[in-house]
């Protein structure tokens, strides 16, 4: 089975290619080059299954193929018995098209694998973003504390308590209060 993988996320594309290769020798995987045309590659390679990242605008090319000229036969993957799975696939951001003669079970296997992979990728990306946000907040709080210690001649515990109290009074997050303080100080410095 020939699988063409059109994923604009390079890292994910590479990892999913490796994952699909593990399916065995009966499967051949071609990742679409970033500068290649999806339609041209489908016409050239005649894949049995095309996995498409839903963030790609050229998805419409495949969506319309049967309506346009009938060849090559491309059918959108649908699981009519499992709308929940289809919703998961859309949320994960992956769609799949396959040839008319591809066994539904084989198309389903590939799609399930891709959806699981995209979901995990989404989770990792969300986690990464969360960690990065936390780190950025930590940096802001530390910078505010250092400035308080310098400008107000406070010790570290006092600076921390100062920000905490302000956060409580204003019902804001510690990081937001710290950012406000830094912004106000910078503004004062810039005043002539």
């Amino acid at each position: 089975m020939k699988i063409l993988l059109a994923d604009s996320n390079e890292v994910r594309c590479e990892a999913l290619t490796a994952q699909l290769m593990k399916l065995g020798a009966a499967f051949s995987i071609t990742p679409l080059a970033w500068d290649a045309s999806l339609l041209a590659e489908v016409e050239r390679l005649r894949p049995d299954v095309v996995l498409v990242d839903m963030a790609r605008p050229d998805r419409d090319v495949l969506d319309s193929l049967p309506a346009l000229n009938g060849a090559p036969p491309v059918v959108m993957f649908l699981d009519n018995d499992d709308p929940g799975f289809m919703q998961q696939a859309i949320s994960a951001g992956v769609s799949s098209y396959h040839g008319q003669d591809v066994a539904p079970d084989a198309a389903k296997l590939v799609m399930h694998l891709a959806v699981a992979f995209f979901q995990r990728n989404q989770e990792v990306a969300a986690k990464l973003q969360e960690v990065e946000e936390q780190a950025a907040q930590r940096r802001t709080i530390d910078a505010a504390k250092r400035l308080l210690m310098k400008e107000e001649r406070m010790g570290e515990p006092a600076a921390h308590r100062f920000l905490q109290r302000r956060a409580m009074d204003q019902q804001k997050r510690l990081a937001d209060v710290a950012a406000d303080y830094l912004a106000a100080q910078t503004w004062q410095e810039q005043k002539p």
């Binding site: 605008p57 050229d58 419409d60 090319v61 969506d63 309506a67 709308p83 289809m86 919703q87 859309i90």
Partner: protein, 330 residues
Amino acid sequence: MNEPIRLGLLRLCDAAPVILAKHEGLFAEAGLEVALSVEPSWANIADKLAYNMLDGAVMLPPLAMACAAGLRGRKVALAVPMSLSAEGNSVTLSTACQELFDQHGMAGLVARKRLRLAVVHGFSSHDLLLRHWLAAQGGRPDQDVEITVLPPAEMVGSLAAGAIDGFCAGAPWGLVAAKAGMGFTACRSRDIWPGHPEKCLALQADFVTTAPERLNLMLQVLLRAQRECAAPESRAKLGALLERPEYLDLPADLLAEALDSAEGGPSFTTPYPSVAQAQWYARQMRRWGKAPAGLEDVTAQLYRPDLFLCAGGEWEKDAPPPLEVTCEQI
């Protein structure tokens, strides 16, 4: 507290009324919470409607009809209570075609050169109007030219790279190609069918039955937004709004120019969701082998002028569809 209404749209000039209603707070004023979802493809819009991940969308009428008839993906119960825009597309050809076109017209050009033309989706007004235009000049769209699909934003680049000889797309892409010196406007869609319906508001049928009051409010807001978009003095403001990176991300003055309906841009003056007009698209889809018989009936169920009138919209006389070319394909 109601869930926000999720409306999908693509980055095109004719999404202006919905974008304006959101950004000027017109939805909020009416007590409606609306979340816009800017999608990269029509396929995404269709899928998200099919699996209830959008409540409605700025939609191509032929695609709404295909979805309602189950011709594309899962069959989905939709309702079209309003037309959002008319006209606004153009057939743009590469500058390399200009000499032959000027000398021999489109029929002569097609006879001398096998053209590869792109449209935005297989189920689109663009595709059907382009085919009608070619056929009206004696061309055979399925044999004489190759019709392919490209995302609107990739049309100009593909024209420049020589991957296509022309395209039919909505504003601003024809203008962008002309300004870049890559192409020229061979025909505006308003010259193929003056007043043709372009984008429609397609909603989940469930939303229409379960939230009739919100539907009325939404239609009233969109009518108001459309009136504002139709005023020539709004164009600069709309250009500045659509210029944002989350929408078209093109210069505001170019967008304002592309929105000029007198120059072939989208027109926002005919909101009545006409069944008769939509059925012309249905017959064309059948004619080109994209739909089986019965799509006209599906269309009559899909289009809901009753809802439009209930919300206070006014009936208007339809711009009559062009005569259908009846000679059989050879």
